[in-house]
Assembly symmetry: C2
DNA sequence: ATGAAAGCGCTAACAC
DNA sequence: GTGTTAGCGCTTTCAT
């Protein structure tokens, strides 16, 4: 691997000059520049990013911790950030936190050890306190998908409570009163928030809360299936069910059909997240939109503007969810009322 | 940020000793080790990965170029690699190639500049020749999802021709002869291979190839929709359609239903990839399984064994596709025969 | 078992 | 406009 030194020798100039043409930092005489560029080409020179970072004390890379790499949800979010960052010539270093505290902290440490200029943190297990401490620690980061009052300006999130609320509220508007809920793992703040919204909507409509109508799944389709089964086997099937994400809604739909029941005629269904797929499913799923891409972009812009001093300064940090109305919710049939 | 030097001073030992305890490389007297670890804790020391890499000339990180970050396909593959690499304490640096040559090459250069110990390359635009050159260039890499005879030992792929073949073959077994095909962008080798397999199956069954029964989509659901529409509008609807991926199959399904037609009673459908979702769709999609996770894992193992000298040495490089039989294919109804 | 010292490849003052 | 030089934080011989 050719070094800057070899280039400088071949070109007959000093190290500094080569560095100048690489970084396009100072004025360099065109003729000199040409000589250097020639030499670089001849040697197949490729800047050593590692050395650059060490010497300049910045890496031009931002670290991103996601819960998982698989599935489309996080990829979509990452993609939003990546496109913006790339435009600004910043790189993205991705690490997975695997939804457990040890790995999440390791991931953060590792990104910091790499001297990432800033971090985007999508965490599930780590405590708010840890993050609050981190913020005092002179490390630049944004938190995504979590709202922490003490560091609100660093948090970019969707109002999950409201999302849970409008999902159930919509079902209620369609006349439903026996509404079951399939939740995500409740130790995750977004799952808990969505459920809270559901309860609130019930309460606002004077529908008594029945804990047997809540199933704690894990955000995976199979748990939606199980959850639905448990409702179906309870003697009286609910007329509608709200799910904490689209995946589980599809699992639930599967169980409903297995019973020979139809969606939405027999049971109405509402999801959450609005994954790509939900526009093409059958029936098309009514669901709460999670602005994945926009949140990813906002996170990138936060960093671009605060840390690198470029790009727009987005003021919006809390996104308001909207219900995407499609074909999985129907008016409650009167014979069931 | 504390440095090794500060640690050494606080602990009253030399730089070298601190380095030893960090890397657990040489023997260090327990008492000394304790002093050092104490000092590290007190200072909140965190090894500077950048400096380590520069000094040791290895980064313990493998670079991974994917076409895109969004969608679930690449995420699943990455996830397979990540889990194995993580176990071996290697890190993953992910870059997106965005399906165009410039970005793909930039991504590779950038990963090399970071002194990644090895690369996993999932490319679409770059030529085989470029990769063959690269292999002579003393850089360690595996190619995923592409088969290049000259560097076959570095290629991990699915036999896409065979995949296309069995999809169509299955349709033929079910009595279909008017089989349409919705392809991916044909400049992508996997799309071209799958189509080739389709044609071969037709030929083997003495079904004349009709170019009007092939629509070139782009692997996105919406193009499947369009493609299906074009077949539907052609005067005579095909009795079955094979799609080059599941997403497009869902787009096609949407178009079929819009016409009031049913799957599989009126039109049979077969997909490709077997995305997570296809187990939960309605009807459940029959499709060719793409072993995403296994391929990701094999790529990781390739690197682990060849470059880092650890982990199993997988000999299998070409995966054989299987058809997952579900509910979207039906026997051709005799009145249509 | 531990220390001294020479780099790793580059940037960033500072001279000229 | 270009060269000199001192680091950046660490690993790694080579001594001791």
């Amino acid at each position: 691997m050719a070094t800057i030194k070899q280039v400088s020798e071949l070109a007959g100039v000093s190290l500094a000059t080569v560095s100048r043409v690489i970084n396009d930092t100072d004025q360099v005489k065109p003729a000199t520049r040409a000589k250097v560029e020639d030499a670089m080409k001849k040697l197949g020179y490729r800047p050593n990013f590692i050395a650059q970072s060490l010497a300049s004390n910045k890496s031009n890379t931002v670290g991103y911790v996601v819960p998982e790499l698989h599935g489309s949800f996080f990829g979509d979010m990452l993609s939003g950030s990546e496109r913006l960052l790339k435009k600004a010539k910043k790189h993205l270093f991705i690490a997975a936190g695997h939804s457990n505290e040890e790995d999440e902290i390791k991931a953060i440490e590792s990104l910091l050890g790499r001297r990432c200029d800033a971090l985007i943190l999508h965490l599930e297990a780590v405590s708010n306190d840890y993050l609050i401490e981190l913020s005092k620690d002179n490390v630049d980061f944004v938190v995504v998908n979590r709202y922490i009052p003490e560091i609100a300006d660093r948090c970019i999130s969707l109002d999950n409570v409201k999302g849970g609320y409008i999902a159930t509220k919509t079902l209620i508007r369609y006349g439903h009163r026996d509404i079951a809920y399939i939740s995500g793992s409740l130790w995750k703040s977004d799952a808990a928030d969505r459920l809270a919204g559901h309860k609130q909507a019930l309460q606002d409509a004077n529908i008594p809360y029945n804990r047997l109508r809540v199933f704690e799944g894990n955000f995976q389709a199979s748990s939606g299936y199980e959850g639905m089964l448990s409702f179906l086997n309870s003697g009286q099937a609910p007329t509608a069910v709200a799910c904490a994400n689209d995946e589980m809604a599809y699992g639930a739909a599967d169980a409903i059909r297995e019973r020979g029941l139809s969606i939405p005629d027999d049971i109405s269904l509402v999801g959450f997240d609005n994954i790509e797929f939900s526009r093409f499913s059958h029936p098309k799923l009514s669901t709460v939109d999670y602005p994945t891409r926009a949140i990813g972009e906002t996170a990138a812009n936060w960093i671009l503007s605060r840390i690198y001093g470029q790009g727009p300064f987005d003021a919006t940090h809390i996104f308001m969810p909207e219900l995407i109305s499609r074909d999985s919710i129907a008016m409650l049939k009167s014979d069931k009322a």
